[in-house]
Symmetry: C2
């Protein structure tokens, strides 16, 4: 077992799951909680998982970052809509020369975090996870769970596979979490957006599950056109997504069970949507490189309208 | 009074209103009805109107075009979604050298009608009318009512102001209906689409009234971008819509009372949407001229999905 200590910023369906797996495998983990703090500090975490259920009756629970010890690795597992809190949350919990591991969707998040904390390594992680919080401190892991890790550097220069990535990878794999290491974080983020932008966006706008979007020839064509614009956006930042990757995403979605996307779940639960990180930032990034993404921009404007009305 | 005879194909909120006004002013009018036939043939039509209520206890009502006399002017007042019926409906009721007056929204309808009947004049009419059918043979006219008329020729060549247009205009104006004559039907149709495409489309997709679309800065910007694409489409067919016209439409919509568009009403009533005439045909027309309208195409695909699901 490695001897890295972990802080989980946001102990929900994602942060709670990965944090519990790490602790279960022997790592030192510290959990930041909000509404579930009382329950979890008294009774710990329950993980119901397709890979095997387990309970952690005792965990290090906190409701205030000032009370947490500085850790080697700080896992950011909030929704991006809460990232405005990071300037308060991160500095107290990160060791000098520590690592911030950002398990969030979207673009440009690492750039924002690099403004907040200096003398740290920032690693981005793209999670493929189906997991729900079903009660306070009670998480139901339904499927998948693998993470793609890539290290961040200014302007998303490619960093290759670093020893820091390998060290964290080791801990996660010991905990039974499949890890893929990528030499190019930005390419990894764009690739994830190939799926996230069309399906998250259209599922909210059209009140539809993934299988409905694929079964209708018009929306299926629209999904493909949106994917092509993501490819264009990636290209504007010097990253090539092959056509075969988009075809793979389409085939993969066709084979999936009917799926309600995470943005649709947020919408149905009247939570703010991750529109800026997932849709707004890619548009901005492409625009900085003089590339216009008209369909994605239309999607963005529709989602901003729906998100605004939903939060009233 | 002119001595033109009129057939109304589709005696609903629009056809019933204009037909009743014509008969009330002394014209000979023949009404084709479907579900309201029994009621109207026995009790006539009731028009409740901001310009003055009136009743026509006796009208020439038919439930079959074969029983109708051939008329000088046949007014097509169906929804475009019923236009597949026109090859059966038109030939029996139109006099040789008669006029077909198409009071429908969208593009390319005259071209389709020209395939069905020969030796006729085709005039397109763009109606600005707020009117609802509130019961069988009972129409409530809320506001507006003016019509812009333009004569059709192959490839929408400009026809100028023809004597046929003036003759019909005379009858309508005698009946208290304001008429504007346009020398360029195609330009008139594109101009109407500047309003119809963004507001009809977005009102259905976002479940929104016109005032909501205007109050939100994102959808307002999206409306403007869609209007710019309509302008592009018009330009691809050699028609110039000035920027000032689009500004006028925005100002006009801002000043309107909160308005549920006709496409939204159709959607809420589970009727098929006029997507092809209003949105599909303009896209096709522009594409024939090698102009791509990406945002309107995205709107089209979203609407086709919603329309398909709504009719199940």
């Amino acid at each position: 077992m490695g001897n890295l200590s972990y802080a989980i910023i946001g102990t929900g369906a994602l942060g709670g799951f990965y944090g519990a797996k790490l602790q279960n495998a022997g790592s030192e983990v510290h959990f930041l909680l909000n509404s579930d703090y009382e329950q979890v500090s008294q009774n710990g975490l329950i993980i119901q998982s397709k890979d095997g259920d387990f309970m952690l009756p005792q965990v290090n629970a906190y409701n205030n970052v000032e009370k947490m010890p500085p850790c080697d690795v700080v896992i950011v597992a909030l929704k991006t809509t809460k990232n405005y809190l990071l300037p308060q949350l991160l500095p107290p919990v990160i060791k000098d020369n520590g690592t911030i591991l950002v398990l969030q969707n979207g673009l440009n998040i690492e750039t924002e975090i690099a403004q907040i904390v200096k003398n740290v390594t920032i690693i981005g992680g793209l999670c493929f996870l189906c997991s729900n919080k079903v009660g306070a401190g009670h998480i139901h892991h339904l499927d998948y769970g693998q993470i793609t890790l890539g290290e961040y550097a200014v302007n998303y220069q490619q960093m290759g596979i670093t020893s820091r990535m390998q060290e964290i990878c080791q801990d996660f794999e010991n905990a039974g979490i499949k890890i893929e290491l990528t030499e190019d974080l930005l390419l990894g983020r764009w690739k994830k957006l190939v799926w996230n932008i069309p399906y998250n966006g259209l599922s909210v706008i059209l009140d539809a599950t993934t299988d409905e979007l694929m079964a209708n020839s018009y929306t299926r064509a629209l999904v493909e056109k949106l994917m092509l614009e993501v490819q264009l956006g990636a290209k504007s930042t010097g990253r090539e997504i092959p056509d075969s990757f988009m075809q793979m995403m389409l085939d993969y979605t066709l084979k999936m069970k009917p799926y309600r996307t995470s943005m649709k779940i947020d919408f149905d639960e009247f939570r703010p949507l991750e529109v800026e990180a997932i849709i707004g930032n890619p548009i901005k990034k492409a625009a900085e490189n003089n590339v216009n993404l008209p369909l994605i921009s239309g999607l963005y404007q529709q989602l901003k309208f729906l998100d605004g009305r939903n939060s009233n």
